[in-house]
Every structure is written in C-alpha cells, then in structure tokens.
Point group: C2
Chain length 378, copies 2
C-alpha cells in the first residue's frame, strides 16, 4: 500500500473564510500537464471578488492564479520545459489548439479551466497542476528578479492589455473599409477628406483602477504606448502620488470635480479613452461620464451587476466599449519588455511576504488595504 502524499493549500470556504489545510498532492492527469513545486504565490486583487462574496462560487477549491515555481514533473507531450526549470504561470491555462487560442483570444480558451475554481485548484499551495504547460508557463528571464515575475502572472499583462486596447482602437478609429480590406473601393468625391488620426501625444486617457493593487500598470502602459496625457483617478493620496510618479496627472475622488477637469483639458470633448480596471458600477459609470463622443471604454475589471448606463447614452455618444478579461498570451511579449525596462518603478510593489500558513491573515490585511501586495512564500 503506497502512502498518499499530502501538501498544504489555501482553501476558500466562503466569504471572509480562508483556511489553510491539507490536500492530496496533485499528479499528472494529461500528457500536456506539468506539476510545479511552488515557491511564491501572489494574492491578487481579483481574489477579493470571491473573498468578499461578490463572486458567487462553490467552496472547497484551492485559491490562487499568480505563482512561480520549479517544474517537478512533466507529461509526455511537453516539449518546452524540463524537470528542475524555474517558471511562472499565466493567470489562466490556454491550450493554443482551440479556435479561440489560435485566433489570439486566449482569454476565451475553451479547454483551459480557471485556476482557483472548482474546475482547477490554484497555486496558493505547495504544488499545483498546470494544464497545457507548454503554453501556460513561461521561463523567468535573467533580467527580472524571480519574485517580481509574480507581477507578470496577471497584473502586468492585464493592465497593459487594457491600455493597449484603448490606444490601438483610437489609432484605428477613423480607418474605413477602403484602408482595411485592401483598397478595392475608391472614393468618387473630390471632397473626400483626409481624416486625421489623433496624434498620440494629444491622446487623453483616464485610468480608473482605484482599489486595485496594480493600478499603476495601465498608467505606465498608456504612457509607454505614447498617450500624451494620462489621468489617474483614486481616493487615496499615497496611491495618487504613485500615479504621479508613473507620469499620470492625479485626480482625487470626492475632492476634484473630475468631469470638469477632463473636459477643460480636452476643449470640452471628454477623454479619448477610459481604461476601467476596478470592476464595479461606479467606475463604469464614471467611465461613461468622462469619455468623449466616439471615444473608447476599455474595461478589464471583473463585472457582475447591471450596466450603469442606458442604451440611449451609448447610442447618442457613439460609444465603443469592450469588456472582459485580458488575452495574456498575445500581449505577453510586449508586456514583459515594458515590465523589464521599468521594473525599478515596481521595486517596492510587494509590501508583505508571509508564509503560506498565514494566508488567512494575508487575505484579511489585503482586503482592509493594510497591505498593497502580499505574496505567500514556501
């Protein structure tokens, strides 16, 4: 009779109820799996949606979708990785075989279950099973410190994606079919104007990401991508100061008359784009108020309630709104380069490091804003 190997894991038992307990150590299930021995696991702002009970779910699964570790075993189909290599995981597994993955929509992979759900235990654990390891994992580059790669699991690609969607949509917004489908159509009118694309240095972006630990990422990303003016909205002075250091103009909730300031800076029009990362109705409502007609709302916040705007508002402002979680894989290369070049700006990003056994305290402190970013170490 073989002994069953167990390990320590962080389990969700219900709202405000995080428990450290023992579970059976995972084993390879599919030939595309890898098993990781986890070294560092992050507690992410999106974990709080579940912790606070806003995101309804069954209980009992292991939490966590940010982690780095060493490969302990690999399935027979794995070609990129070997036992003993140090790696990080994207925040959600992606198969790279389904139609969605192949078309760049890795955020809607039909085969990859989500970490930290009933379908797949997460990485706040001594060991974790990684499906589709060849595409879900990445190496840790020499130029980035191991611990800092926790930011590349979710925070950085997600924030970068939100800003990237806004900027690229703005740049393409005046293009017509003639310039996209390939010039088979022509313009018969002498009047046909050469419409201007907005010069990037004139673009005004507002980042709404208060309460989100990683809110400086979309600010930095929008600046790196060339946006001339980036406003950052928050209620806390310390976070507004961080935003300022990243190149944003700070706007304080409850103090500044934000819509008027944005309108004044844009000749009355409103912001060209708003990047929404909070995932609540008041943020989305502010986005609709601040964006100009024909502007972009790029939302990667996790949303559950009703939409806080009417069909008439969207119609009469000609709004272009995309929502949903980031596609990490298509932007990973770009995001990593931006991150590596700016990692000094995130040097004191992780404020608390605790042993896995202290996970209940870590969640409690994080939820109460007593910690900006907590990692669990093993």
């Amino acid at each position: 009779m073989s002994t069953i190997e167990t390990m320590q894991v962080v389990v969700y038992e219900g709202p405000f109820n995080i428990v450290v307990k023992k579970k059976t150590k995972p084993v390879l299930v599919d030939d595309t799996d890898a098993i990781l021995k986890v070294h560092i696991a992050g507690v992410c702002g999106s974990d709080l949606h579940m912790y606070r009970g806003h995101q309804k779910t069954i209980t009992g699964h292991t939490m966590g979708h940010e982690f780095i570790g060493t490969i302990e075993s690999v399935g027979s189909a794995i070609t990129r990785f070997n036992v003993g290599q140090k790696v990080m995981s994207m925040f959600s597994p992606m198969c790279m075989r389904c139609w969605f993955c192949q078309h760049g929509h890795t955020n809607r992979c039909v085969n990859g279950p989500s970490y930290g759900s009933m379908a797949l235990d997460g990485g706040q654990a001594e060991f974790v099973r990684v499906p589709f390891a060849d595409s879900t994992l990445e190496f840790i580059p020499e130029e980035v410190h191991d611990e800092m790669m926790i930011l590349m699991c979710d925070i950085f690609p997600t924030g970068y994606y939100g800003a990237m969607k806004a900027i690229t949509k703005l740049l393409r917004n005046t293009q017509t079919a003639e310039s996209i489908v390939g010039g088979t159509l022509h313009a018969p009118s002498a009047l046909r104007p050469a419409f201007q694309t907005i010069p990037l240095d004139e673009v005004v972006v507002v980042c709404l990401s208060w309460m989100w630990t990683s809110w400086t990422v979309p600010i930095l990303s929008a600046k790196v991508l060339g946006a001339g003016t980036v406003y950052a909205v928050d209620s806390a002075d310390d976070r507004l100061e961080e935003a300022r250091k990243m190149g944003a103009l700070p706007l304080k909730l409850g103090t500044d008359y934000i819509p008027e300031i944005v309108r004044s800076a844009t000749a009355g029009r409103g912001a060209d784009a708003v990047v929404e990362i909070v995932g609540n109705q008041s943020a989305m409502r502010l986005a609709i108020d601040l964006v100009r007609p024909c502007g972009i709302v790029s939302s990667v916040g996790f949303h559950q309630g009703d939409l806080p705007y009417t069909a008439f508002e969207a119609y009469s402002k000609n709004l272009d709104i995309n929502m949903g979680r980031a596609a990490a894989r298509p932007v990973y290369g770009e995001a990593l380069k931006v991150f590596a070049e700016n990692q000094d700006k995130f040097a004191d990003f992780i404020t608390h490091r605790m042993p896995l056994a202290d996970a209940p305290t870590a969640y409690e402190m994080f939820e109460k804003h007593q910690a900006r970013k907590v990692t669990l170490t093993l």
Copy 2:
C-alpha cells in the same frame, strides 16, 4: 411691404399626427448655407421612432432627413455648388471644421443640427435650408437615377457603415500594439504565436434589421466587403426572400431556432459579428445571444431603453460593442461605389410615390408595413 413667401411642409404634431401645413419659406442664415428646392423627399424608418411616440420630442418642426433637390441660392462662403445644380443631402449636416468632423466622427459634429428637429426644419417641404452645404450636400452622379439617390441620403451609408464596422473590427481584432503603434516593442518569447486573422470567406455575420425598410443594405455590404456567410433574421417571408437574393441565408423569427442554427454553422462558437439596425431591445438581446465570445456587435439602430444584457454577460463573453448613428461622410465614397454597382438590386425598392399633400397617408401606410419605402414628390 414685401410679401412673405410661404410653402407647403410636413409637420410633426405628436404621435400618429402628421399634418401638411404652410410655413414661411426658409432664407439663407449663415454664409455656409444653401437653400434647396426639393424634388423628392423620403420617409425613413427612423422617422417612425418619432411617429410612434417612442422618441420624445417637442412638436411643430418639419420632418424629413432624406431629400434631393435643386440649389436655389447659396451663401457667400459656398465654393462647391452653384444655383441650379441638382444635389442630395446627407441625413445630417456636418461642418467639417469641428474636432469631431476633422477626425472622421461626422456623426458627432458639434455644429450641425439634425434635420427634422426643433433645431432645424427637415426636407419634407417645398424648400429646405441646408447648413454647411459644401460638406452636407453631394452631387448626383450620372450613373445613378435621381430618385435612387434618396437611398444614399441615409439608408445606404448607414447600412454600409454598420457592416463595415463589424468587418474591419474583426480583421483588426488580433492585432496588438506592436503591429499598430509601430514595432518598437518586440516579443522575447520563442513561443509567441503568429495568431491567425479570420479569413474573410470564413467570417459569419448576422444582420438583424427586421422592421427596417432598408434591411438588405447591411446584408449586401457585408457580402461585398467579403464576409463568407451572412445570415439575415426577419419574421416576414417576402423580406427573407429579398435577403436571400442579396446573398444571405434567411432565418425566420418565431420559426427557426436561430441560436442553434448559428452555433451549428460555427462549430458551436456563435457568429463572428452581429450587425443590429432595428433599434429595439429584442434585437439587441438576440445580438448578444448570437455573437461568439470576443465577437463584435455593430449597432446603428436608434436605441432608447435599457440595455438588455448584464455587465457579467459582456465581461464573460469579452464583447466588443459599438453603438450610435453612422458617420456618413467617411464612408460616403465607398458606399456610393457599392450602391452604384448594385443599384439594379434596388430597382423596385421604392414602392410608393405620393404628392407631399398625402404625407399623412404615407406615414400611416409606412407605419402599417403597407408600403416598403415611400417618397413624397413635389
């Protein structure tokens, strides 16, 4: 004492209350104005939003935003047009000087009032004042019959714009900042995949435009722009037959199980894009049901009520939704070319021609679907 010149006009007096009465003939107000002697004015599907009382408005204005006529006088700043020339008008005046016009968003011109509103009398009248005539008017090309140009006032550019938005967004959907902003970022990972753009002949578009007189326009436009499969949803057999002739696969409301058919045709995914032109909640709801994750909803229907979907649906399907009226000027050249090449398909589009004095009957028949398209002749 000079005599005051009067003319016959079609006035909105409230829901289901259209009256032909006399008003003072318009005169030049601004130096960018033109006065047109109207020959033909169309009753548009969007006039019914007001006629049926769905679109709340003050009463007393002259109706109509589709008309062709001869230039009777021009302001001193007009350079493109001379007295006596035959022209058509875009459905709404555009100044081409404001920030929105200059950036291709002529649908949100801040200086151009809407025809058929308290701000500007419409063209269902013997004469009409045209603001910003140099950019609001267009010549009638030799290859298109005068009367047919009524379709180019609104119906054709709007339907084309709806389809164009959907197709061009699909083609750009997998592009990242690297390929847009200009290649200053690079991908450090060997895995970085070459994501596929959807081949146009595999694109599946659904057109929702029932109750809209001009519903075959987005169907034709989507086909001309290269969409491989276009479904058309309607409840009426005769309109479904027209859709079939334009190249669409007809789906009958209340008879076909539409979501299942679309899913079967797309390996379970759903439509790549849905073009919504009806402007009501049930159409928008069907759009959300039919579109695939990461798909496009392109809506040019006039919407007033609540949005018939939740934030969670938009988030969890990663939807990209644009709403609002078409920008006519940027697509005018493309749309006219498609229209001119396909005008034979619209030869029997106008079913009823009535004198202006019969406008009340025209509206009544049109509202009851007894006429497909009515023009008022002068």
